[in-house]
Point group: C2
Chain length 315, copies 2
C-alpha cells in the first residue's frame, strides 16, 4: 500500500526534536475521542472529527474540531468495540491515511480491521477514561501521564506506528510498545478482571441486603466504581477479551484459595511497590521497543533514530 511522504525515511545524524506532523481525524467524539480531539486542537493542531451523534459533533466543534466526514492524516477510531468494524462506513478516508483505534481489546480489532487496512492499521489503547461517558465528560487533560499501549505486530509499518505514537506523546501520554496478544493478556489482569470483581462484589452485596448496602463505605465504593460504567461497555470489554479474561480470573480465584494473611501480605506488597525510573534510549526497532514494553517501561519522547523512555529500576 502506498505510504505518502514518510517523515522519517532516513536516520539523521542528530536529534530532531520537532517534526512535521500529519493532521488528525477522530471518529467518535465521546469521552475518549472528544478528549483527544480537544487536547490536540488546544495544542494548535489541525483536527477534524465525526460522530453519529449531532450533540457530540456540536460539542467537538466548540473545542475547535472541524466537523467533517472526510478523514485524512492519522484517523483515530474512538467508537465502542461493538461498532468498531463498521466505524468507517459512510465516511471518506484518504487512501494513504494511517488508521488507529482506542479500543480496550486489541486482537479482535486487529482481526477486524487488519484484514481490510493491512499495514495502514496500528492498534492502540490509552489507559485512561472514567466511568462517565459521552461528550459532557470530555477532558483535554485526560491523557496527561497516562500509558498508551500501541501495537507493534510483525507486519506493522514502523513509520506509521511512530506517527500514532507522536499523537499520544503530544497529548501527554507515555507510549507502551506491545503486541496485540500481550496487550490483551495484560489488560485482562488489570482491567477486565477488576470489572468482573466489581460486578460480583456489588451483586453479592445486593444479595446480602439493605443493611449491608447501608453500611457500605469507601472500600465497597472504590472496589465497585468501575461497574457504574455503561454495562454495554463493560460487557464488550470482558466478552471481547474472553479467553485472557477467563485465564486472569482463574489466577485471582487461585489467589483467593491461599491463607488470607499470606494473600494480604502479597497483595499489599504488589500494590505498594514503587520502582524508580531509569532513563533509556531505544533504537527504532521492533524487538527493542517490545522489550521496553515487556520490562514495564514506556516511551516518553521520539527523536530521529531512536526514542527516549524509561524502564523500572531493577527491571
Amino acid at each position: 500500500m502506498a505510504d505518502p511522504a514518510p517523515d522519517d525515511s532516513g536516520p539523521p545524524a542528530f536529534p530532531v526534536p520537532t517534526m512535521p506532523v500529519p493532521p488528525v481525524s477522530v471518529v467518535g467524539l465521546g469521552q475518549l475521542g472528544g478528549s483527544l480531539a480537544a487536547a490536540l486542537a488546544a495544542g494548535g493542531r489541525p483536527v477534524s472529527g465525526w460522530d453519529v451523534d449531532p450533540a457530540a459533533r456540536d460539542a467537538a466543534a466548540d473545542h475547535g474540531v472541524r466537523v467533517t466526514r472526510e478523514l485524512t492524516g492519522v484517523v483515530v477510531l474512538a467508537v465502542p468495540l461493538p461498532v468498531m468494524a463498521g466505524a468507517l462506513e459512510g465516511l471518506r478516508v484518504d487512501p494513504g491515511a494511517t488508521v488507529t483505534d482506542l479500543g480496550s481489546v486489541k486482537v479482535p480489532v486487529l482481526d477486524a480491521l487488519g484484514a481490510a487496512l493491512g499495514d495502514r492499521y496500528v492498534g492502540g489503547h490509552p489507559m485512561c477514561g472514567t466511568e462517565r461517558s459521552g461528550p459532557e465528560s470530555v477532558d483535554p487533560a485526560l491523557f496527561t501521564g497516562a500509558r498508551w499501549a500501541l501495537c507493534l505486530e510483525p507486519g506493522t509499518d514502523l513509520r506509521r506506528w511512530l506517527r500514532v505514537a507522536e499523537i499520544a506523546l503530544a497529548v501527554g501520554a507515555e507510549v507502551v510498545p506491545v503486541t496485540a496478544a500481550e496487550h490483551d493478556d495484560a489488560v485482562a489482569a488489570i482491567s477486565a478482571v477488576p470489572h468482573l470483581l466489581a460486578a460480583a462484589l456489588a451483586a453479592a452485596a445486593g444479595q446480602a441486603g439493605p443493611l449491608a448496602l447501608s453500611l457500605a463505605a469507601g472500600s465497597y465504593r472504590d472496589a465497585t466504581r468501575v461497574i457504574a460504567s455503561d454495562p454495554a461497555f463493560v460487557t464488550a470489554l470482558v466478552e471481547g477479551n474472553a479467553a485472557p479474561a477467563a485465564a486472569a480470573l482463574a489466577r485471582v480465584r487461585d489467589q483467593l484459595d491461599r491463607p488470607w494473611p499470606d494473600l494480604v501480605a502479597d497483595g499489599h506488597a504488589v500494590r505498594t511497590a514503587t520502582a524508580g525510573r531509569r532513563p533509556v534510549r531505544v533504537p527504532l526497532e521492533r524487538a527493542a521497543l517490545l522489550s521496553l514494553g515487556r520490562s514495564g517501561g514506556a516511551v516518553t519522547r521520539r527523536l530521529a533514530a531512536f526514542v527516549e523512555g524509561w524502564v523500572p529500576e531493577q527491571a
Copy 2:
C-alpha cells in the same frame, strides 16, 4: 452495675433538642480515635485521651484533647483489634463509665469485653477511615455523613446506647442500630470481601508481570486501593471476621460463575441504584431500632422518647 445519673430516665412530653452530655475519653489517638477526639474538642466538648505513642498524645493535645490515663464518661476504645481486649490495662476507668469501641468486627470484641464490662459495654463501628493511619491522618471531618453501626444486644442498656449514639451524631455521623452478628455479616460483604478481592487482584497482577502493572490505570488502582492499608489491620479485619467473610466470599465466587453479561447487568444495577429517603420516627425500643437498621435506614437525631431517622423509600 451502677448507672450514675441517667439523663433520660423518663420520657418528657415534649422533644428535648439539647441534653446534658457526658465527657468523652478516647483510648488510641490514631486516625479514627484522633479524628473523633479532635472533632468533639472542636465542638467544645470536654475530651480526654490516651495513646501508648507519645507522638499521638502530642498531636491530640494540639487538637485540644486533655492527655490523661483517667477515663470517665463515655470511654471510646480506638485501638487495633489485636490489642482491643487489653486496651484498658494500666488505665483508670471510672466504674460508672460507658465503654464503646470503634473496631471493625463486633462479635469478637463483644466476646472479649462484654464478659468483663457487662451492660457498660456498647459495641460500635463507624464506617469511615482511609488506607492512611496514624496521627498525621487525623481529620475532624472524617465522620461527617458516615454511617456508625451501634450494637443493640439483648442485654444492652438502652440509656448507655443512647449516650454513645449521641457522640456519633455530634460528629456528623448517622447511627445504624444493629446486633453484633448482623454487623459482622454485613461488613463481611462490604468490607472484608473488598479487602480480600483487592489483595487477590493485586497479587495476580503481580503474577501477570511488569507490562500488566505498567498498563494498570484507574480500574486497577481503585479496585486495589484498600490493600494499600497496613497489612496487620487488613489481616485482623478478615481473620477476626473469618466465618462471615468466608460465607460472603463464597457468594462472590458464585456470582463469578454466572454468564458475564448477566453479572455485569446485575452488578451495575446494585451499584447505581439510588433510593430516596423517607423520614421516620422510631420509639426508643430495641426491636424498632433494629428494624430500622435492617431496612437500610439510620438514626439522624435523638429526641426525648424517640429518635428521628430515615429509611430507604420502598423499603
